[in-house]
C-alpha cells in the first residue's frame, strides 16, 4: 500500500469533513504539522474540533486555522500565546475545553490504545473534576477522564521510511506519538523520507501501523522564544 503522497493537500484528499475531530501534535510551535495545517486552511473544511496542547501563534500553526474561523472548539492545556484565539474565545465565537497537559496526552494515548476511560489524580478538588466520576483506589480519590478517538491525526516527525515508520528529533516528539495513535487516519509530515530498511528497526519511535499517509516537505520550524547565553570570556 502506497503511503507516500506528493503534497499535504493530496495527503488530506478524501479525509476531510466539516465538524470532524482532529488531533494535532506539537508543543508550542515545536514539532507542529505546519504543512498539513496550511493544507487544512486551503481546504476550507470548517466547524473543526481540534485537540492540541497549544493553539499556535496568530500567524503560524493552528493560529492560521483560527484566523479563518475554521475551528469551532479547541481542547488544549495552554493557549496564552495567541491573541486572536483569546479574542474569539472571549467573544463566545470559539469553544474551549481546558485539559491538564498530562491528561490531554493520556486521553490521546488511551484513545489510540482502545481505552475509553481511565482514572487520574490530576485535577481532583479543582474545576477540572466538576461533573466527573470520582472513585477511590487504595484510599486516594481519582477522577475519570475519557480517551480521545479522533477522526484524523496530523503530526510532524523528523524521518520516515516509506512504510510509515517514524523517528522524531529531540523535544519535537512531544504530543506527536499520542496524537498519531488516537486518530482513525494519521497523516504525518516529515523532513525526510528514506527507503525501507535504512532505519535501524530498534531505533523507530512510532511504528508505521499508526501512520497511513506521509509527505515530505521543507519546514519553516519557527522558534517561539529564542533564548541564548553569552560565551564566557573566562
Amino acid at each position: 500500500m502506497k503511503k507516500v503522497y506528493g503534497s499535504a493537500s493530496e495527503a488530506l484528499d478524501g479525509l476531510l469533513q466539516d465538524g470532524m475531530l482532529i488531533a494535532a501534535g506539537g508543543f508550542g510551535l515545536c514539532g507542529i504539522p505546519e504543512l498539513l495545517i496550511d493544507a487544512l486552511v486551503a481546504s476550507g473544511v470548517k466547524d473543526l474540533t481540534v485537540a492540541s496542547n497549544n493553539a499556535g501563534v496568530d500567524d503560524f500553526g493552528l493560529g492560521k486555522l483560527l484566523a479563518t474561523r475554521q475551528i469551532k472548539k479547541m481542547i488544549s492545556s495552554y493557549v496564552g500565546e495567541n491573541a486572536e484565539f483569546m479574542r474569539q474565545y472571549l467573544s463566545g465565537e470559539l469553544e474551549l475545553e481546558f485539559n491538564p497537559q498530562g491528561t490531554l496526552a493520556e486521553r490521546m494515548r488511551a484513545g489510540g490504545a482502545g481505552i475509553p476511560g481511565f482514572y487520574t489524580k490530576t485535577g481532583v478538588g479543582t474545576v477540572i473534576a466538576e461533573g466527573k466520576d470520582h472513585r477511590d483506589f487504595n484510599g486516594e480519590t481519582y477522577i475519570m477522564e475519557e480517551g480521545i478517538f479522533a477522526d484524523l491525526s496530523i503530526i510532524k516527525a523528523w524521518k520516515a521510511d516509506d512504510t510509515g515508520n517514524l523517528i522524531f528529533r529531540k523535544t519535537a516528539r512531544n504530543f506527536n506519538p499520542p496524537a498519531a495513535m488516537c486518530g482513525k487516519v494519521c497523516v504525518a509530515e516529515v523532513e525526510e523520507i528514506v527507503p525501507r530498511g535504512s532505519i535501524d528497526p530498534d531505533l523507530i519511535h512510532l511504528p508505521g501501523i499508526y501512520v497511513h499517509r506521509i509527505i515530505q516537505g521543507p519546514h519553516e520550524k519557527r522558534i517561539e522564544q529564542r533564548t541564548v547565553r553569552q560565551k564566557e570570556s573566562a
Binding site: 495552554y78 493557549v79 479543582t126 516528539r173 512531544n174 529564542r226
Partner: protein, 212 residues
C-alpha cells in the same frame, strides 16, 4: 510594619530552594524564580525534567546554536547534556503522575494552610490554561512552592483558604518565601526557618494563615 521587611531576594530564595534538592534527584522546575534554582545546585547530581519530553535539560544555547527542535516547557531554546533522554508527552506525564519525579519547585499566586495551591487562573482575567501544573502537583513526590510572601498590595499570599481556583488540593509540602520557610503539616503551617533579618513575629504578622 510588614511592608518594610525585605528578607531574601529572588536569588536568595532560589538558593534556599536548591537546598531542598538531594543528590540523584529528578526534578521539575517551574517558570520564574524556580528556574533560577538550577543556578544553585552546586555539585549535586540533579537531573532536570522538562515536561514537554526531556530529562537532563541543559542551559540556553550559545547564539547561533539555537535548535527549533529543542525547547523547554517555557518554549525557550535550550541544550542537551550527555545524560539527556527524550520521550513523548504521554511518557513524560506518566513519569510525573507515576511519582518518579522526586520534586517540583513551582511559583504560586496563593497557598493555603492545608497545602491547597492556586497558580493557574484569576477569574475575570485572561485565562491561559493550566499547562502541566495540575499533573505535576498531583503526581510528583514533593511540591515546593517558591513565591513572594505578599502580593503587590502587601496582602498575604499564604492564606487560611485560597480565594482563586485551585491547581491542586492539599498538594504543597513546603513554602519558601522572601520571609522564610514554612511546612504544611497535619496540624497546620509550621515555621521552619526565618530569612535573614526576619523574625517569627514578622512572619506571623505578614501571614493570614495560622502558623502553629
Amino acid at each position: 510594619m510588614p511592608s518594610s521587611i525585605k528578607g531574601w531576594d529572588r536569588n536568595q530564595m532560589a538558593a534556599r530552594a536548591a537546598q531542598e534538592l538531594e543528590d540523584g534527584m529528578y526534578v521539575n522546575l517551574g517558570i520564574g524564580i524556580p528556574t533560577l534554582v538550577a543556578n544553585y545546585v552546586g555539585d549535586k547530581d540533579i537531573t532536570l525534567q522538562s515536561e514537554n519530553g526531556m530529562l537532563g535539560m541543559g542551559p540556553f544555547p550559545f547564539e547561533g546554536e539555537e535548535d527549533a527542535d529543542l525547547i523547554n516547557a517555557g518554549k525557550q531554546t535550550i541544550t542537551e547534556l550527555n545524560r539527556t533522554s527524550y520521550f513523548d508527552s504521554a511518557t513524560s506525564f506518566g513519569m510525573i503522575r507515576g511519582g518518579k519525579i522526586a520534586a517540583a519547585i513551582l511559583g504560586a499566586m496563593e497557598v493555603s494552610e492545608r497545602g491547597d495551591l492556586a497558580n493557574w487562573m484569576i477569574p475575570g482575567k485572561l485565562v491561559k490554561g493550566m499547562g502541566g501544573a495540575m499533573d505535576l502537583v498531583a503526581g510528583v513526590g514533593r511540591v515546593i512552592v517558591v513565591m513572594d510572601h505578599t502580593n503587590k498590595h502587601g496582602e498575604s499570599k499564604v492564606l487560611r483558604d485560597c480565594t482563586l481556583p485551585l491547581t491542586g488540593k492539599g498538594v504543597v509540602d513546603r513554602i519558601i518565601t522572601n520571609l522564610g520557610v514554612l511546612d504544611v503539616t497535619v496540624n497546620g503551617l509550621s515555621l521552619v526557618e526565618c530569612a535573614d533579618g526576619v523574625t517569627r513575629q514578622d512572619i506571623i504578622g505578614a501571614t493570614e494563615a495560622l502558623i502553629v
